[in-house]
Protein backbone atom coordinates (compact mmCIF):
# COMPACT_ATOMS: atom_id res chain seq x y z
CA UNK A 1 0.00 0.00 0.00
CA UNK A 2 1.41 3.38 -0.95
CA UNK A 3 1.81 6.01 1.75
CA UNK A 4 -0.73 8.48 0.31
CA UNK A 5 -3.27 5.66 0.09
CA UNK A 6 -2.56 4.69 3.71
CA UNK A 7 -2.85 8.32 4.74
CA UNK A 8 -6.20 8.60 2.94
CA UNK A 9 -7.50 5.48 4.68
CA UNK A 10 -6.24 6.77 8.02
CA UNK A 11 -8.10 10.02 7.42
CA UNK A 12 -11.37 8.23 6.66
CA UNK A 13 -10.94 6.05 9.68
CA UNK A 14 -10.26 9.09 11.87
CA UNK A 15 -13.44 10.76 10.65
CA UNK A 16 -15.41 7.63 11.49
CA UNK A 17 -13.83 7.60 14.95
CA UNK A 18 -14.62 11.25 15.63
CA UNK A 19 -18.20 10.70 14.47
CA UNK A 20 -18.52 7.71 16.80
CA UNK A 21 -17.18 9.75 19.71
CA UNK A 22 -19.41 12.70 18.81
CA UNK A 23 -22.43 10.38 18.93
CA UNK A 24 -21.39 9.33 22.43
CA UNK A 25 -20.99 12.94 23.57
CA UNK A 26 -24.37 14.02 22.22
CA UNK A 27 -26.07 10.99 23.78
CA UNK A 28 -24.51 11.82 27.15
CA UNK A 29 -25.40 15.53 26.86
CA UNK A 30 -29.01 14.62 26.06
CA UNK A 31 -29.13 12.54 29.25
CA UNK A 32 -27.58 15.22 31.43
CA UNK A 33 -30.42 17.30 32.85
CA UNK A 34 -27.97 19.59 34.66
CA UNK A 35 -26.00 20.41 31.52
CA UNK A 36 -29.15 20.92 29.44
CA UNK A 37 -30.80 23.13 32.05
CA UNK A 38 -27.75 25.36 32.48
CA UNK A 39 -27.20 25.48 28.73
CA UNK A 40 -30.76 26.67 28.05
CA UNK A 41 -31.95 28.79 30.99
CA UNK A 42 -29.00 31.23 31.06
CA UNK A 43 -28.99 31.81 27.29
CA UNK A 44 -32.76 32.34 27.32
CA UNK A 45 -32.28 35.11 29.88
CA UNK A 46 -29.24 36.66 28.21
CA UNK A 47 -30.24 36.27 24.58
CA UNK A 48 -34.01 36.75 24.68
CA UNK A 49 -35.56 38.02 27.88
CA UNK A 50 -33.17 40.81 28.88
CA UNK A 51 -32.30 42.26 25.43
CA UNK A 52 -35.84 42.12 24.07
CA UNK A 53 -37.15 43.57 27.32
CA UNK A 54 -34.74 46.48 26.96
CA UNK A 55 -35.42 47.01 23.25
CA UNK A 56 -39.18 46.96 23.73
CA UNK A 57 -39.01 48.91 26.99
CA UNK A 58 -37.01 51.79 25.56
CA UNK A 59 -39.29 52.32 22.57
CA UNK A 60 -41.01 55.66 22.84
CA UNK A 61 -38.48 57.08 25.30
CA UNK A 62 -37.95 60.61 24.07
CA UNK A 63 -34.81 61.77 25.83
CA UNK A 64 -31.49 60.30 26.65
CA UNK A 65 -29.85 60.61 30.06
CA UNK A 66 -28.89 64.07 31.32
CA UNK A 67 -25.13 64.18 31.68
CA UNK A 68 -23.20 66.64 33.87
CA UNK A 69 -21.80 69.56 31.90
CA UNK A 70 -18.32 68.95 30.46
CA UNK A 71 -18.40 65.16 30.89
CA UNK A 72 -16.72 63.23 28.04
CA UNK A 73 -18.08 59.98 26.66
CA UNK A 74 -16.14 57.15 24.98
CA UNK A 75 -16.23 57.36 21.15
CA UNK A 76 -18.61 54.43 20.88
CA UNK A 77 -21.21 56.11 23.08
CA UNK A 78 -20.81 59.73 22.03
CA UNK A 79 -23.09 59.54 19.03
CA UNK A 80 -25.68 57.33 20.69
CA UNK A 81 -26.26 58.84 24.10
CA UNK A 82 -29.17 60.99 23.01
CA UNK A 83 -30.94 58.02 21.41
CA UNK A 84 -31.59 55.29 23.99
CA UNK A 85 -33.11 52.93 21.40
CA UNK A 86 -29.95 53.05 19.28
CA UNK A 87 -27.80 52.70 22.40
CA UNK A 88 -29.58 49.46 23.24
CA UNK A 89 -29.46 48.12 19.69
CA UNK A 90 -25.88 49.06 18.87
CA UNK A 91 -24.14 48.52 22.21
CA UNK A 92 -26.21 46.45 24.60
CA UNK A 93 -27.61 43.97 22.07
CA UNK A 94 -24.15 42.95 20.74
CA UNK A 95 -22.98 42.67 24.35
CA UNK A 96 -25.80 40.28 25.26
CA UNK A 97 -25.23 38.28 22.07
CA UNK A 98 -21.53 38.01 22.97
CA UNK A 99 -22.28 36.92 26.54
CA UNK A 100 -24.80 34.34 25.31
CA UNK A 101 -22.33 32.97 22.76
CA UNK A 102 -19.57 32.75 25.35
CA UNK A 103 -21.45 31.07 28.17
CA UNK A 104 -23.33 28.23 26.43
CA UNK A 105 -20.32 26.25 25.20
CA UNK A 106 -18.36 26.88 28.38
CA UNK A 107 -21.20 25.47 30.51
CA UNK A 108 -21.60 22.30 28.44
CA UNK A 109 -17.82 21.93 27.98
CA UNK A 110 -17.45 21.91 31.74
CA UNK A 111 -19.83 18.97 31.75
CA UNK A 112 -18.36 16.95 28.88
CA UNK A 113 -14.69 17.58 29.52
CA UNK A 114 -14.47 17.72 33.28
CA UNK A 115 -16.95 14.97 34.20
CA UNK A 116 -14.98 12.44 32.20
CA UNK A 117 -11.82 13.39 34.02
CA UNK A 118 -13.39 13.64 37.47
CA UNK A 119 -15.16 10.26 37.25
CA UNK A 120 -12.10 8.59 35.68
CA UNK A 121 -14.25 7.20 32.88
CA UNK A 122 -11.67 8.63 30.49
CA UNK A 123 -9.64 5.48 31.17
CA UNK A 124 -12.44 3.46 29.57
CA UNK A 125 -12.05 5.54 26.43
CA UNK A 126 -8.27 5.35 26.52
CA UNK A 127 -8.52 1.57 26.49
CA UNK A 128 -10.07 1.85 23.03
CA UNK A 129 -8.04 2.66 19.92
CA UNK A 130 -8.49 6.41 19.90
CA UNK A 131 -6.27 9.44 20.33
CA UNK A 132 -6.68 12.22 22.88
CA UNK A 133 -6.97 14.70 20.03
CA UNK A 134 -9.98 12.82 18.65
CA UNK A 135 -11.58 12.52 22.08
CA UNK A 136 -11.30 16.26 22.65
CA UNK A 137 -12.30 17.14 19.11
CA UNK A 138 -15.49 15.12 19.59
CA UNK A 139 -16.13 16.81 22.93
CA UNK A 140 -15.67 20.27 21.47
CA UNK A 141 -17.85 19.41 18.46
CA UNK A 142 -20.53 18.07 20.82
CA UNK A 143 -20.32 21.31 22.76
CA UNK A 144 -20.63 23.31 19.54
CA UNK A 145 -23.61 21.27 18.32
CA UNK A 146 -25.44 21.76 21.63
CA UNK A 147 -24.60 25.47 21.59
CA UNK A 148 -25.91 25.88 18.05
CA UNK A 149 -29.08 23.91 18.83
CA UNK A 150 -29.75 26.16 21.83
CA UNK A 151 -28.50 29.52 20.61
CA UNK A 152 -29.67 29.63 17.00
CA UNK A 153 -33.40 29.23 17.79
CA UNK A 154 -33.09 31.90 20.51
CA UNK A 155 -31.40 34.20 18.01
CA UNK A 156 -34.22 33.52 15.54
CA UNK A 157 -36.73 34.61 18.22
CA UNK A 158 -34.69 37.80 18.69
CA UNK A 159 -34.52 38.35 14.95
CA UNK A 160 -38.26 37.93 14.41
CA UNK A 161 -39.14 40.32 17.23
CA UNK A 162 -36.52 42.93 16.29
CA UNK A 163 -37.52 42.91 12.62
CA UNK A 164 -41.21 43.02 13.50
CA UNK A 165 -40.81 46.12 15.64
CA UNK A 166 -38.40 47.59 13.10
CA UNK A 167 -35.58 47.98 15.63
CA UNK A 168 -32.85 46.65 13.30
CA UNK A 169 -32.22 46.05 9.61
CA UNK A 170 -31.68 42.52 8.19
CA UNK A 171 -28.05 43.44 7.43
CA UNK A 172 -27.43 44.46 11.04
CA UNK A 173 -28.99 41.18 12.19
CA UNK A 174 -26.60 39.28 9.93
CA UNK A 175 -23.70 41.13 11.60
CA UNK A 176 -25.06 40.23 15.03
CA UNK A 177 -25.24 36.58 13.94
CA UNK A 178 -21.56 36.72 12.97
CA UNK A 179 -20.81 38.14 16.43
CA UNK A 180 -22.70 35.20 17.93
CA UNK A 181 -20.72 32.67 15.87
CA UNK A 182 -17.43 34.37 16.80
CA UNK A 183 -18.38 34.25 20.49
CA UNK A 184 -19.20 30.54 20.16
CA UNK A 185 -15.87 29.86 18.44
CA UNK A 186 -14.04 31.82 21.12
CA UNK A 187 -15.78 29.87 23.86
CA UNK A 188 -14.83 26.56 22.24
CA UNK A 189 -11.16 27.59 22.31
CA UNK A 190 -11.50 28.58 25.95
CA UNK A 191 -13.14 25.21 26.68
CA UNK A 192 -10.03 23.41 25.41
CA UNK A 193 -7.88 25.50 27.72
CA UNK A 194 -10.29 24.65 30.51
CA UNK A 195 -9.75 20.95 29.80
CA UNK A 196 -6.06 21.46 30.34
CA UNK A 197 -6.33 23.48 33.52
CA UNK A 198 -9.38 22.36 35.50
CA UNK A 199 -9.26 19.26 37.66
CA UNK A 200 -12.85 19.25 38.89
CA UNK A 201 -16.18 21.05 38.58
CA UNK A 202 -15.38 23.69 41.15
CA UNK A 203 -12.05 24.59 39.54
CA UNK A 204 -13.72 24.50 36.13
CA UNK A 205 -16.43 26.95 37.22
CA UNK A 206 -13.86 29.27 38.79
CA UNK A 207 -11.67 29.10 35.70
CA UNK A 208 -14.68 29.67 33.48
CA UNK A 209 -15.29 32.89 35.32
CA UNK A 210 -11.62 33.82 35.19
CA UNK A 211 -11.42 33.23 31.42
CA UNK A 212 -14.86 34.39 30.27
CA UNK A 213 -15.12 37.39 32.63
CA UNK A 214 -12.20 39.34 31.10
CA UNK A 215 -13.51 38.54 27.62
CA UNK A 216 -16.87 40.11 28.50
CA UNK A 217 -15.11 43.19 29.89
CA UNK A 218 -13.04 43.36 26.73
CA UNK A 219 -16.20 43.14 24.62
CA UNK A 220 -17.73 45.93 26.68
CA UNK A 221 -14.63 48.09 26.18
CA UNK A 222 -14.76 47.54 22.42
CA UNK A 223 -18.48 48.32 22.23
CA UNK A 224 -18.03 51.51 24.24
CA UNK A 225 -14.77 52.52 22.61
CA UNK A 226 -15.22 51.92 18.90
CA UNK A 227 -17.77 54.02 16.99
CA UNK A 228 -20.18 52.88 14.26
CA UNK A 229 -20.37 49.44 12.75
CA UNK A 230 -16.62 49.00 13.15
CA UNK A 231 -17.32 48.10 16.76
CA UNK A 232 -18.86 44.80 15.60
CA UNK A 233 -16.00 44.10 13.18
CA UNK A 234 -13.41 44.71 15.91
CA UNK A 235 -15.43 42.64 18.36
CA UNK A 236 -15.58 39.69 15.95
CA UNK A 237 -11.85 39.97 15.24
CA UNK A 238 -10.95 40.07 18.94
CA UNK A 239 -13.23 37.15 19.82
CA UNK A 240 -11.79 35.02 17.02
CA UNK A 241 -8.23 35.95 17.96
CA UNK A 242 -8.83 35.14 21.65
CA UNK A 243 -10.46 31.82 20.73
CA UNK A 244 -7.67 30.88 18.34
CA UNK A 245 -5.06 31.81 20.95
CA UNK A 246 -6.72 29.70 23.63
CA UNK A 247 -7.14 26.82 21.17
CA UNK A 248 -3.49 26.92 20.09
CA UNK A 249 -2.20 27.03 23.66
CA UNK A 250 -4.53 24.15 24.62
CA UNK A 251 -3.66 22.05 21.58
CA UNK A 252 0.05 22.60 22.13
CA UNK A 253 0.12 21.65 25.79
CA UNK A 254 -2.62 19.09 26.12
CA UNK A 255 -1.41 15.50 26.43
CA UNK A 256 -3.06 12.44 27.93
CA UNK A 257 -0.66 12.78 30.82
CA UNK A 258 -1.75 16.34 31.58
CA UNK A 259 -5.41 15.56 30.96
CA UNK A 260 -5.24 12.59 33.33
CA UNK A 261 -3.09 14.30 35.96
Amino acid sequence: MSDPQAAREGQVSRMVQVRALLGKELRQLRRSKGALLSATVLPFLVLVLIPLGQVLGVRGAADGPRLPLGSALPPGLAGLIQDPAQLIVQVMLPLYITIGGLIVPSVSATHTVITEREKRSLELLMALPVSLQDILLAKLLGTLVLALVVVVPLFVVDAVVLLTVGAVSPGYLALLFIVLLAALACSIGVALLLALLARDFRTANNLNGALIGPLILLALAILFGVPGLQRLVVLVAVLLAAGAGAFLVGARWLTFERYLA
Binding site: G10, S13, V16, Q17, R19, A20, L21, G23, K24, R27, Q28, R31, S32, K119, R120, S121, L122, E123, L124, M126, A127, L128, P129, V130, S131, T255, F256, E257, L260, A261
Partner: protein
Protein backbone atom coordinates in the same frame (compact mmCIF):
# COMPACT_ATOMS: atom_id res chain seq x y z
CA UNK B 1 8.72 -11.75 16.40
CA UNK B 2 8.42 -9.43 19.38
CA UNK B 3 4.90 -8.36 20.36
CA UNK B 4 6.15 -5.57 22.57
CA UNK B 5 9.49 -4.08 23.43
CA UNK B 6 10.91 -1.54 25.84
CA UNK B 7 14.35 -0.22 24.97
CA UNK B 8 16.17 1.63 27.74
CA UNK B 9 12.89 3.17 28.89
CA UNK B 10 12.71 5.52 31.83
CA UNK B 11 9.64 7.34 33.01
CA UNK B 12 9.77 10.14 35.51
CA UNK B 13 6.49 11.79 36.51
CA UNK B 14 6.21 15.58 36.70
CA UNK B 15 6.32 15.46 40.51
CA UNK B 16 9.65 13.67 40.36
CA UNK B 17 8.82 10.00 40.99
CA UNK B 18 10.87 7.64 38.83
CA UNK B 19 8.42 4.90 37.85
CA UNK B 20 10.62 3.07 35.33
CA UNK B 21 14.40 3.18 35.38
CA UNK B 22 16.24 2.21 32.19
CA UNK B 23 14.03 -0.78 31.47
CA UNK B 24 14.80 -3.04 28.53
CA UNK B 25 12.55 -6.01 27.91
CA UNK B 26 10.67 -7.74 25.13
CA UNK B 27 7.76 -10.16 25.03
CA UNK B 28 7.61 -12.53 22.07
CA UNK B 29 4.50 -13.01 19.98
CA UNK B 30 2.38 -15.79 21.44
CA UNK B 31 3.77 -15.45 24.97
CA UNK B 32 1.52 -15.07 28.00
CA UNK B 33 3.59 -12.90 30.28
CA UNK B 34 2.74 -11.51 33.67
CA UNK B 35 4.13 -8.31 35.04
CA UNK B 36 4.59 -8.65 38.79
CA UNK B 37 5.87 -6.37 41.45
CA UNK B 38 4.97 -4.55 44.63
CA UNK B 39 3.01 -1.28 44.61
CA UNK B 40 4.94 1.47 42.87
CA UNK B 41 7.14 -0.99 40.98
CA UNK B 42 6.13 0.56 37.65
CA UNK B 43 3.69 -2.07 36.33
CA UNK B 44 0.81 0.26 35.44
CA UNK B 45 3.25 2.81 34.04
CA UNK B 46 4.53 0.13 31.66
CA UNK B 47 0.97 -0.63 30.49
CA UNK B 48 0.18 3.07 30.06
CA UNK B 49 3.31 3.57 27.99
CA UNK B 50 2.17 0.75 25.72
CA UNK B 51 -1.34 2.19 25.35
CA UNK B 52 0.18 5.54 24.42
CA UNK B 53 -1.31 7.37 27.40
CA UNK B 54 2.15 8.27 28.70
CA UNK B 55 5.32 9.21 26.90
CA UNK B 56 8.66 7.86 28.13
CA UNK B 57 11.09 10.35 29.61
CA UNK B 58 13.85 8.39 27.87
CA UNK B 59 13.99 5.35 25.60
CA UNK B 60 11.55 3.88 23.11
CA UNK B 61 8.54 1.56 23.29
CA UNK B 62 7.23 -0.67 20.49
CA UNK B 63 3.89 -2.38 20.18
CA UNK B 64 3.42 -5.11 17.56
CA UNK B 65 6.39 -3.76 15.63
CA UNK B 66 5.29 -0.09 15.59
CA UNK B 67 6.79 2.55 17.82
CA UNK B 68 4.22 3.84 20.29
CA UNK B 69 2.73 7.12 19.04
CA UNK B 70 4.67 6.70 15.79
CA UNK B 71 3.12 6.58 12.29
CA UNK B 72 2.08 2.91 12.43
CA UNK B 73 0.77 3.04 15.98
CA UNK B 74 -2.96 3.74 15.31
CA UNK B 75 -3.13 0.60 13.16
CA UNK B 76 -1.49 -1.66 15.76
CA UNK B 77 -3.65 -0.18 18.52
CA UNK B 78 -6.63 -1.62 16.66
CA UNK B 79 -4.96 -5.02 16.98
CA UNK B 80 -4.53 -4.56 20.74
CA UNK B 81 -7.18 -5.11 23.39
CA UNK B 82 -6.71 -3.28 26.68
CA UNK B 83 -8.37 -3.88 30.03
CA UNK B 84 -7.55 -0.87 32.22
CA UNK B 85 -7.16 -1.00 35.97
CA UNK B 86 -10.41 -0.13 37.78
CA UNK B 87 -11.64 2.59 35.42
CA UNK B 88 -14.51 4.91 36.30
CA UNK B 89 -17.82 3.81 34.82
CA UNK B 90 -20.27 5.92 32.83
CA UNK B 91 -23.50 6.80 34.59
CA UNK B 92 -25.03 7.84 31.27
CA UNK B 93 -23.93 5.16 28.84
CA UNK B 94 -25.33 1.62 28.68
CA UNK B 95 -23.31 -1.56 28.27
CA UNK B 96 -24.56 -1.98 24.68
CA UNK B 97 -23.80 1.65 23.81
CA UNK B 98 -20.26 1.38 25.13
CA UNK B 99 -19.67 -1.82 23.18
CA UNK B 100 -21.13 -0.27 20.02
CA UNK B 101 -18.75 2.67 20.48
CA UNK B 102 -15.86 0.22 20.85
CA UNK B 103 -16.97 -1.62 17.69
CA UNK B 104 -17.00 1.61 15.68
CA UNK B 105 -13.58 2.62 17.00
CA UNK B 106 -12.05 -0.80 16.21
CA UNK B 107 -13.85 -0.78 12.87
CA UNK B 108 -15.01 -4.36 13.37
CA UNK B 109 -16.52 -6.78 15.90
CA UNK B 110 -19.71 -8.62 16.67
CA UNK B 111 -21.31 -6.94 19.69
CA UNK B 112 -24.26 -9.34 19.87
CA UNK B 113 -22.02 -12.41 19.93
CA UNK B 114 -19.76 -11.01 22.64
CA UNK B 115 -22.72 -9.91 24.75
CA UNK B 116 -23.96 -13.46 24.48
CA UNK B 117 -20.56 -15.02 25.30
CA UNK B 118 -20.07 -12.73 28.31
CA UNK B 119 -23.64 -13.12 29.58
CA UNK B 120 -24.32 -9.40 29.12
CA UNK B 121 -27.52 -9.66 27.11
CA UNK B 122 -29.84 -9.09 30.12
CA UNK B 123 -27.87 -5.94 30.97
CA UNK B 124 -27.61 -4.39 27.50
CA UNK B 125 -29.71 -1.37 28.52
CA UNK B 126 -28.16 -1.00 32.00
CA UNK B 127 -25.93 1.99 32.61
CA UNK B 128 -22.32 0.88 33.10
CA UNK B 129 -22.09 2.40 36.58
CA UNK B 130 -25.14 0.38 37.70
CA UNK B 131 -23.59 -3.00 36.84
CA UNK B 132 -21.91 -5.10 39.53
CA UNK B 133 -18.09 -5.07 39.60
CA UNK B 134 -17.91 -8.47 37.90
CA UNK B 135 -20.21 -7.43 35.07
CA UNK B 136 -18.39 -4.14 34.63
CA UNK B 137 -15.20 -6.13 34.16
CA UNK B 138 -17.01 -8.37 31.66
CA UNK B 139 -18.03 -5.34 29.61
CA UNK B 140 -14.47 -3.99 29.60
CA UNK B 141 -13.08 -7.39 28.63
CA UNK B 142 -15.70 -7.77 25.90
CA UNK B 143 -14.75 -4.33 24.54
CA UNK B 144 -11.08 -5.35 24.54
CA UNK B 145 -11.92 -8.47 22.53
CA UNK B 146 -14.26 -6.82 20.02
CA UNK B 147 -11.49 -6.12 17.54
CA UNK B 148 -10.26 -9.76 17.65
CA UNK B 149 -6.91 -8.46 18.95
CA UNK B 150 -3.53 -10.14 18.50
CA UNK B 151 -2.34 -8.70 21.80
CA UNK B 152 -4.06 -8.28 25.16
CA UNK B 153 -2.85 -5.84 27.80
CA UNK B 154 -4.56 -6.60 31.10
CA UNK B 155 -3.97 -4.21 33.98
CA UNK B 156 -5.15 -5.81 37.23
CA UNK B 157 -8.27 -7.25 35.57
CA UNK B 158 -9.65 -8.79 38.76
CA UNK B 159 -8.68 -6.23 41.36
CA UNK B 160 -11.46 -5.49 43.91
CA UNK B 161 -13.64 -8.37 42.69
CA UNK B 162 -15.24 -10.82 45.11
CA UNK B 163 -14.01 -14.45 44.84
CA UNK B 164 -16.98 -15.60 42.75
CA UNK B 165 -16.68 -12.73 40.26
CA UNK B 166 -12.90 -13.22 40.19
CA UNK B 167 -13.33 -16.89 39.31
CA UNK B 168 -15.81 -16.03 36.55
CA UNK B 169 -13.48 -13.42 35.09
CA UNK B 170 -10.58 -15.92 35.25
CA UNK B 171 -12.60 -18.41 33.22
CA UNK B 172 -13.35 -15.72 30.62
CA UNK B 173 -9.74 -14.53 30.62
CA UNK B 174 -8.45 -18.04 30.04
CA UNK B 175 -10.67 -18.31 26.96
CA UNK B 176 -9.75 -14.81 25.79
CA UNK B 177 -6.01 -15.43 26.13
CA UNK B 178 -6.17 -18.58 24.03
CA UNK B 179 -3.84 -18.05 21.04
CA UNK B 180 -3.13 -14.40 21.92
CA UNK B 181 -0.05 -12.67 23.17
CA UNK B 182 -0.88 -11.38 26.64
CA UNK B 183 0.74 -9.07 29.13
CA UNK B 184 -1.04 -9.42 32.46
CA UNK B 185 -0.20 -6.89 35.12
CA UNK B 186 -1.26 -8.18 38.53
CA UNK B 187 -0.66 -8.30 42.25
CA UNK B 188 -2.32 -11.66 42.44
CA UNK B 189 0.40 -14.29 42.18
CA UNK B 190 -2.06 -17.19 42.01
CA UNK B 191 -3.77 -15.44 39.08
CA UNK B 192 -0.46 -14.93 37.32
CA UNK B 193 0.48 -18.56 37.90
CA UNK B 194 -2.83 -19.83 36.58
CA UNK B 195 -2.88 -17.67 33.46
CA UNK B 196 0.72 -17.03 32.41
CA UNK B 197 3.84 -18.92 31.39
CA UNK B 198 6.37 -16.09 31.50
CA UNK B 199 7.22 -13.86 34.43
CA UNK B 200 8.55 -10.32 34.54
CA UNK B 201 9.19 -9.00 38.03
CA UNK B 202 9.65 -5.27 38.47
CA UNK B 203 11.02 -3.66 41.58
CA UNK B 204 11.55 0.06 42.03
CA UNK B 205 11.23 0.61 38.31
CA UNK B 206 13.81 -1.98 37.27
CA UNK B 207 13.42 -5.47 35.83
CA UNK B 208 14.40 -7.86 38.58
CA UNK B 209 13.65 -11.07 36.71
CA UNK B 210 12.35 -11.95 33.26
CA UNK B 211 12.11 -15.68 32.63
CA UNK B 212 9.70 -18.47 31.73
CA UNK B 213 7.81 -19.72 34.76
CA UNK B 214 8.99 -23.30 34.10
CA UNK B 215 12.63 -22.18 34.17
CA UNK B 216 12.10 -20.36 37.45
CA UNK B 217 10.56 -23.51 38.87
CA UNK B 218 13.55 -25.55 37.71
CA UNK B 219 15.88 -23.08 39.40
CA UNK B 220 13.88 -23.09 42.61
CA UNK B 221 15.06 -25.34 45.39
CA UNK B 222 13.02 -28.52 45.62
CA UNK B 223 11.03 -29.14 48.76
CA UNK B 224 9.29 -32.05 50.44
CA UNK B 225 6.26 -31.66 52.67
CA UNK B 226 6.27 -33.79 55.84
CA UNK B 227 3.77 -34.36 58.61
CA UNK B 228 4.16 -36.54 61.72
CA UNK B 229 1.75 -37.56 64.46
CA UNK B 230 4.13 -35.99 67.03
CA UNK B 231 3.67 -32.57 65.42
CA UNK B 232 5.67 -29.98 63.48
CA UNK B 233 7.91 -29.10 66.43
CA UNK B 234 9.23 -32.65 66.82
CA UNK B 235 9.74 -32.93 63.05
CA UNK B 236 11.64 -29.65 62.87
CA UNK B 237 13.90 -30.70 65.72
CA UNK B 238 14.66 -34.06 64.09
CA UNK B 239 15.41 -32.43 60.74
CA UNK B 240 17.67 -29.84 62.36
CA UNK B 241 19.60 -32.66 64.04
CA UNK B 242 20.23 -34.05 60.57
CA UNK B 243 21.46 -30.69 59.33
CA UNK B 244 18.55 -30.04 56.96
CA UNK B 245 16.92 -26.66 56.33
CA UNK B 246 13.23 -26.85 57.17
CA UNK B 247 10.36 -24.55 58.06
CA UNK B 248 6.83 -24.88 59.32
CA UNK B 249 4.08 -24.14 56.79
CA UNK B 250 1.70 -22.03 58.85
CA UNK B 251 -1.17 -22.75 56.44
CA UNK B 252 -1.57 -26.40 57.45
CA UNK B 253 0.98 -27.04 60.21
CA UNK B 254 3.14 -29.29 58.03
CA UNK B 255 6.89 -28.96 57.63
CA UNK B 256 8.68 -28.08 54.39
CA UNK B 257 12.21 -29.39 54.05
CA UNK B 258 14.57 -28.34 51.28
CA UNK B 259 16.33 -31.17 49.42
CA UNK B 260 18.62 -31.07 46.40
CA UNK B 261 17.16 -34.19 44.81
CA UNK B 262 13.90 -35.39 46.41
CA UNK B 263 13.50 -38.68 44.47
CA UNK B 264 16.91 -39.84 45.76
CA UNK B 265 17.00 -38.22 49.20
CA UNK B 266 13.39 -38.38 50.38
CA UNK B 267 13.10 -42.20 50.88
CA UNK B 268 16.31 -42.24 52.91
CA UNK B 269 15.16 -39.25 54.96
CA UNK B 270 11.82 -40.93 55.61
CA UNK B 271 13.53 -44.13 56.82
CA UNK B 272 15.73 -42.12 59.20
CA UNK B 273 12.77 -40.18 60.63
CA UNK B 274 10.79 -43.39 61.19
CA UNK B 275 13.84 -44.97 62.80
CA UNK B 276 14.06 -41.96 65.13
CA UNK B 277 10.56 -42.80 66.39
CA UNK B 278 8.57 -40.19 64.46
CA UNK B 279 5.29 -41.45 63.04
CA UNK B 280 5.51 -39.73 59.66
CA UNK B 281 2.18 -40.05 57.82
CA UNK B 282 2.78 -37.60 55.00
CA UNK B 283 5.75 -37.19 52.67
CA UNK B 284 5.31 -35.58 49.26
CA UNK B 285 7.32 -33.45 46.85
CA UNK B 286 6.11 -29.86 46.55
CA UNK B 287 6.30 -27.77 43.41
CA UNK B 288 7.34 -24.23 44.24
CA UNK B 289 4.46 -21.79 43.76
CA UNK B 290 4.94 -18.47 42.05
CA UNK B 291 4.52 -16.89 45.45
CA UNK B 292 7.48 -18.93 46.78
CA UNK B 293 9.55 -18.05 43.74
CA UNK B 294 8.58 -14.38 43.92
CA UNK B 295 9.47 -14.09 47.59
CA UNK B 296 12.71 -16.03 47.11
CA UNK B 297 13.75 -13.83 44.19
CA UNK B 298 12.83 -10.58 45.85
CA UNK B 299 14.71 -11.62 49.02
CA UNK B 300 17.76 -12.95 47.21
CA UNK B 301 18.22 -9.80 45.08
CA UNK B 302 17.69 -7.36 47.92
Amino acid sequence: MQALRFERVSKRYPKGALALDDVTLAVAAGARACLLGPNGAGKSTAIRLLEGALRPTAGRVWLLGAEVNGPGYPAVRRRTGIVPQGPGMYTDLTAAEYLQLARRLYGRGDVARLMDVFGLEPYRHTMLAQLSGGYQRRVVLAAALLGEPDLLLLDEPTVDLDPVAMHEVHVLLRQAMEGRTTLLCTHNLAEAEALCDEVIILRQGKVLVHAPLAELRRQAQAQVRLAARQGAGALLAALQEQGLAARRDEADGTVLVTLDDPPIQAPDLLRRLLAAGLDVYRCEPVQATLQDLFLELVRSKR
